[in-house]
Symmetry: C2
Amino acid sequence: MTGWITVAGLGPGAEAMVTPEVGAALDQATDIVGYIPYVARVAAREGLVMHPSDNRVELDRARLALDLAASGRRVVIVSSGDPGVFAMASALFEAVEAAGADPDIRILPGITAMLAAAARAGAPLGHDFCAINLSDNLKPFALIEHRLRHAARGDFAMAFYNPRSASRPEGFARVLEILREECGPDRLIIFARAVSTPDEALRVVTLAEARPEMADMRTVVIVGNAATRRVGRWVYAPRSAGAT
Amino acid sequence: MTGWITVAGLGPGAEAMVTPEVGAALDQATDIVGYIPYVARVAAREGLVMHPSDNRVELDRARLALDLAASGRRVVIVSSGDPGVFAMASALFEAVEAAGADPDIRILPGITAMLAAAARAGAPLGHDFCAINLSDNLKPFALIEHRLRHAARGDFAMAFYNPRSASRPEGFARVLEILREECGPDRLIIFARAVSTPDEALRVVTLAEARPEMADMRTVVIVGNAATRRVGRWVYAPRSAGAT
């Protein structure tokens, strides 16, 4: 039996946003590897072995997948959203490089959180934008600040992943200060929590009104560009937005 | 009968990447509005009226959808990829604002081209990144250059939509020059054409080797950050990439 690894994006939460190719990969798998709440989204069936693991052990998880595939298993590593956006695909390739391995790998895209959030809000990412992981587990805050300032000065809309955790709440407060400095108080900011799940909540405020506690680790934050505006309950970036 | 408008993302091409909620919206529609090749992807059935239109008439298309919904029709505006990324969602909200209308609108996300391309290449968008529309139909080239330089100086990976058309081939040549200036000759660049269709082609080169004719309007271009590397046939951004 020839083993393989598929890294599959489960989308933001709703089953109606899981692509058919991801569903087919799950049907063919012998083993599911991933963070506990994502593995819990896969339906159990006879012969399917679940390998749930805690957060922040991405490399261990990738190595487990390599070992399983080397022994002939058909492994799906599940990610929330899209596996290539601040998720398991990069960790897998780090493990592949370190191991000098060459397994059969497929990456299957999914609906990433910022696009699900943007769809609920209107079209805030309809013009040029950046995606920034605000977690400082893997990079210094100085680099986050450097990127925020370049993104703001380039008048990009911005989407933030992992904006705030209990262990480092002060980082996001500083992010909001930097944004107010660079973009002014009237810029629109969207807090989109747990989109497409029963806990979904959407809030649109200005930077002046924004507070750190409006975000948690289930929230994606989107900041508009200079032309981003409201129409009714919607927020959108005009197609011709932006000025040097 | 109460009309509505749904703006739906059909993904990059393969049916296996169309989400179930988009399929359900197409099943409920009375009218399909969109660019000719995207409308052609929707299966015909009795009572379903197709309204294909040419490129660059996004506002006319949005107004048609508003008129149809006002008369009680159930309209799906189809976009390739995700409707919120350089596609029809922003145009619809522009038309809504101009008309002072308040129709029943839903935006359904789809697999956007850069994420489908990234999945085929490995994980080049696994760290912070920007998405930039290189079409200068709706913005001056000076703004494109301004954003490219900020993106490069922030050490963002970059994904480019609409890199090159027959009517303005010189723009993309200039983009490559700017990137070589900012990022040096060894930076990796990915040309991903028509991902998930029978015409799919993927090419990975350095900026020194990149040529404008490697891209056309069916190509998404992804530029790595300073840490982006190859492992076997794959290209990925390590999770801890980047330095100020």
